[in-house]
């Protein structure tokens, strides 16, 4: 089986023009085996492209899209949770006006950590680098949403009696901070999109839940029977 035969049957460019070309002796010069694209080769290259992009899209792309960062201090939630009386709300509290304070700031930390209480190197680092000079710790917030999104913790935690865990996962028992994967394009955490780049499958119970708009809508549909109106969040 010569490659020429194959070429004549498979190659798209060869088929319609094959007859007139064979009449004309001159083009035969180009009909050398090497000069014709092999159908298999074309398919092979197509597949190389296909598989290559599949691999890079599924495996390489997430690696490139997210940079990995560590929190400035390796914070131990478990230790803190043991020592406070009011659970998560001891530090992540609601202000008097009902708004949610979010990450505690230096004013909150300084109550206990004016001086290091243990010889834990992370605590000493925290006191030396942040408490003493009075600098806010630049925590990397896994749940930070774009400015156009208005989310009320009050409506969910107080109004709907949801636990922190139901969205943020079991962070309260963690002994170390996780690696913060930052989307290089948007600057937000990978947690918002969800760890699965395909957004398929269900996240584990103890993991933080994805927080894209569809995730909000899905839960709202399940819990309230309606996805909610645009202006509930986009004000």
């Amino acid at each position: 089986m010569s490659s020429t035969d194959q070429n004549q049957t498979v190659s798209p460019e060869a088929t319609p023009k094959a007859a007139p070309d064979s009449v004309n002796p001159e083009p035969k010069v180009h009909e050398s085996p090497a000069s014709k694209s092999s159908g298999w080769a074309v398919f092979m290259f197509f597949m190389i492209g296909l598989v290559g992009s599949l691999l890079s899209g599924w495996i390489l792309f997430p690696e490139i899209l997210y940079s990995k960062k560590n929190q400035p201090i390796d914070f131990n939630h478990a230790v803190h949770l043991d020592m406070v009386s009011d659970g998560c709300e001891s530090c992540h509290y609601f202000r008097d006006d009902g708004s949610f304070a979010g990450m505690p700031n230096m004013g909150d930390c300084i109550d206990c950590h004016e001086e290091a209480q243990t010889d834990d190197p992370e605590e000493i680092k925290f006191v030396d680098e942040y408490v003493t000079p009075g600098i806010e710790v630049p925590w990397l917030n896994h749940s930070k949403q774009p400015d156009c999104v208005f989310f009320s913790h009050s409506a969910h935690v107080i109004g709907a009696d949801m636990s922190c865990k139901s969205c943020h996962g079991d962070i309260g028992t963690s002994e170390h901070t996780r690696v913060y994967e930052e989307n290089r394009l948007t600057g937000y955490s990978r947690d918002i999109w969800g760890h699965s780049i395909s957004r398929l499958g269900k996240s584990r119970h103890e993991d933080p839940k994805p927080m894209k708009m569809n995730d909000c809508a899905k839960c709202h549909k399940e819990e309230t029977g309606h996805k909610g109106a645009c202006f509930q969040c986009h004000k």
């Binding site: 090497a34 290259f45 492209g49 290559g52 899209g57």
Partner: protein
């Protein structure tokens, strides 16, 4: 497999197609699309509001003398909104557009961010940043040099207010230094104050108890356009009872006039004639308050002085102002004059007020006296719903200043502006005369160094060209402005003060309310830039000057000075943010006035002693406006709007945004003209025209407006800035470039209400 060009292209195409097909089956393109959308929201120039804890700080607005209480909303300590303070006695929660947009003064690009020294020619805008030490040393050095040369009186200081501890601290500095030339910018209040002084013998802040009046006769006061304290006036309109009448008398249908019970279009500058015409009717029909006039007034009837010379009384004098004649002068028909006079006199609590628009121009003393006489005729002096005067605030106490010989000699020199001189004995400050005096001075300029704070004379003084020429003659100009205003941009040094939300200051209300209210402006934010409290700058300079000047300032800084001068009132003021002192009106049957006659003087004897050749009684003489009537057939009058700040503080850019297309279009200011006049001149709506006055010319667009009298054209104050920032400069025309000052013969204050003008289509 040999690859030539053709097969290479084929294989590449195949690979690309494969790649494209494959990528569609990966999350990458869909994820990137989503991310790209979010990426666009995070462009660095997209403003992102601060998120965090919401707090409120109470303070008082110092953008105008109104003294409205403000409640500043902060997020994470950053001021994000200014609201009116609900329980403040002046404004009760209302606030004007300027106060609401006040944050733009804090964050806007017109701030002076550090001390600056001029490089290049004046007004070129070339500056060198210098340290505070260097700037203060340079200014103190210059002041020390002038003092050493025995010329302390050649230092003048222009301020925006003379009430409160900052102006008093500056006054104290000048006294210890040896200069009598402390000059405060004038407003209509000066003329009213003087009229009250002349008739009642009482020096103080005029009180208009408008809230308790039921018939308000306003001679052009822009009650809704920024007159007095705007917050207070908004409340007045908001709570109008059906029985309350507001009669607005002005040549133009302003917002105030449009919202009044009645608008009377008057020929501009003839308000005094109308007031006297109303008095004529009231007296003729015997509608005046006889109890007050007979028992507590002097000069109503004809009288004979101790030399046996007989004088006409007020009643005789107003006989000249019969409604027919007044109708001819004012353009208001006779029947309306008569019915207005009757309605005013018969109302249970009528009040007459004056001061045009915002009250930026003092106006004529005759006019203020005529309006005061109207109030006296209905007997509403020192009464609820009437007119009275609060003595100047004296809540702050400080030790006497001991001055040395140089200062003493300096202080004995006459004031440069002529205030308090034999010619103008009852006037305290005459800023409007300064340019003329400086330009006329032979040899050295009488002002060798000028300090300017809370004032912008290069913009606000009429006749900008003459003002600039006068300032050119001053060798050393220092501005303490937090903003690059017209005067700051013409200075040699700028020692920027903190902006209004960053500085500590006591603010005595000066806006006619019937109580003395002293509020405390507390910093709501730490200074954003390298600025210094003007009080601290003066204390620093005093200490550098040494000797008696330094001894007059034993305080480390302004805060210490404030605490010490307020003594036991400081704690209350600091805690509550406000001190209120009730203004007790005298018993109605025990009216005594501090005048020579101890009565209300329809014939103000104090004016008589001012060596006036004519009778001291208020009269009407047309204010001579500039310009040849043959060449300039129209009359240009400025007007004020609540949406434009015409004073030393420029508009916040948000305010300019609220200005209609009929006032400012693109870069052109519009001039209002009656359609009939426009037709005569061949001008159509929107036509571009050249507006010329004896003082200057400008290109304007024409706006046909039925609400202005034929022959009159009007433009607003507050446009045409040349400094500040690109958001303010070059928009419209500064009307002060087209108008000149006219001196009132009694007070020396500016009484110009317009100028002759012509409008030619181009």
């Amino acid at each position: 497999m040999k690859i030539d060009r053709r097969s290479f292209l084929t294989y590449t195409t195949a690979a690309v197609l494969g790649g494209a097909a494959g990528s569609m089956l990966t999350p990458a393109p869909w994820k990137l699309m989503d991310d790209a959308a979010i990426w666009t929201q995070n462009w660095p120039w997209t403003p992102v509001p601060e998120d965090g804890e919401v707090t409120y700080k109470q303070s008082v607005c110092t953008l105008c003398p109104g003294g409205c209480g403000i409640n500043v909303r902060l997020i994470n300590g950053r001021p994000v909104k200014i609201e009116g303070l609900k329980d403040h006695p002046v404004n009760k929660g209302s606030l004007c557009p300027m106060g609401i947009s006040g944050l733009q003064y804090l964050y806007g690009p017109s701030r002076v961010t550090s001390p600056l020294k001029r490089e290049g020619k004046r007004g070129d805008g070339k500056w060198k940043k210098v340290s505070w030490d260097e700037a203060l040393a340079a200014v103190s050095g210059k002041l020390a040099e002038l003092r050493a040369n025995g010329r302390p009186q050649s230092v003048a200081c222009i301020t925006g207010s003379d009430q409160g501890t900052i102006p008093n601290l500056i006054g104290r500095f000048l006294t210890a230094y040896g200069s009598p030339n402390y000059i405060r910018s004038a407003t209509a209040q000066d003329a009213i104050e003087q009229a009250i002084y002349l008739t009642q013998g009482k020096q103080g802040t005029p009180v208009f108890d408008i809230e308790n009046a039921d018939f308000i006769l306003s001679f052009g006061s822009g009650i809704l356009d920024g007159w007095g304290s705007p917050g207070r006036m908004f409340n007045l309109y908001g709570s109008q009872k059906p029985a309350k009448k507001i009669i607005q008398i002005e040549p133009r249908l302003s917002d105030t006039a449009a919202k009044a019970s009645q608008w009377m279009g008057i020929n501009p500058g003839t308000e005094a004639a109308l007031a006297l015409g109303l008095a004529h009717v009231i007296i003729k029909e015997s509608l005046y308050n006889k109890d007050f006039v007979e028992n507590f007034a002097f000069g109503f009837d004809d009288w004979t002085d101790e030399n046996g010379k007989s004088h006409n009384g007020f009643a005789t004098m107003v006989k000249k102002f019969a409604p027919e004649k007044v109708s001819r002068i004012t353009g208001i028909n006779k029947a309306e004059i008569v019915s207005l006079a009757r309605a005013f006199a018969r109302a249970s609590k009528p009040i007459a007020i004056n001061g045009r628009g915002h009250g930026a121009v003092a106006g004529s003393i005759d006019e203020s006296l005529a309006v005061q006489s109207l109030n006296a005729l209905v007997g509403n002096i020192n009464k609820s719903g009437g007119i009275s005067a609060i003595p100047d605030s004296n809540y702050a106490k400080w030790p006497e200043v001991n001055i040395d010989e140089i200062a003493s000699k300096g202080m004995q020199q006459p004031r440069i502006d002529g205030a308090g001189s034999e010619q103008f004995p009852n006037t305290r400050y005459l800023l409007n005369r300064l340019p003329v005096i400086l330009n006329a001075a032979k040899g050295d300029s009488p002002v060798q160094a000028l300090l300017v704070t809370d004032a912008n004379p290069m913009y606000t003084l009429p006749d900008t060209v003459a003002t600039k020429k006068a300032f050119d003659r001053i060798p050393f100009i220092v501005s303490f402005s937090p903003y690059m205003d017209e005067t700051a941009s013409y200075a040699d040094y700028i020692l920027p003060n903190h902006s209004f939300l960053e500085r500590l200051q006591d603010v005595p209300s000066h806006a006619g309310i019937s109580r003395q209210v002293i509020s405390l402006a507390k910093p709501v934010i730490q200074p954003t830039y390298d600025t210094k409290h003007v009080g601290d700058s003066f204390i620093h300079m005093a200490k550098s000057l040494g000797g008696f000047v330094s001894n007059a300032f034993p305080w480390d800084n302004y805060e210490a000075f404030l605490k010490e001068t307020l003594k036991n009132q400081w704690r209350k003021l600091n805690r509550k943010g406000i001190i209120e002192i009730e203004h007790n009106l005298p018993e109605p049957l025990a009216y005594t006035f501090n005048t020579v006659s101890t009565k209300f003087e329809f014939y103000p004897t104090a004016r008589d002693s001012a060596k006036q050749k004519k009778s001291a009684l208020p009269s009407y003489t047309p204010v001579p406006i500039e310009g040849d009537i043959q060449r300039f057939k129209l009359v240009l009058t400025p007007y004020d709007s609540i949406r434009l700040a015409g004073g030393y503080m420029a508009n916040a850019p948000f305010m300019t945004k609220t200005v209609d297309d009929e006032v400012l279009k693109n870069q052109f200011g519009l001039v209002e003209i009656n359609p009939a006049t426009a037709k005569d001149l061949g001008l159509k709506e929107g036509a571009t025209a050249l507006l010329t006055t004896p003082k200057g010319e400008t290109t304007v667009q024409v706006h046909l407006y039925e609400g202005i009298k034929p022959g009159i054209i009007a433009m607003p104050r507050g446009l045409g800035h040349t400094a500040y920032s690109e958001y303010l400069a070059g928009k419209g025309t500064n009307i002060n470039t087209l108008i000149g000052p006219i001196e009132d013969p009694t007070s020396g204050l500016d009484m110009a209400w317009g100028i002759r003008a012509k409008l030619i289509r181009i």
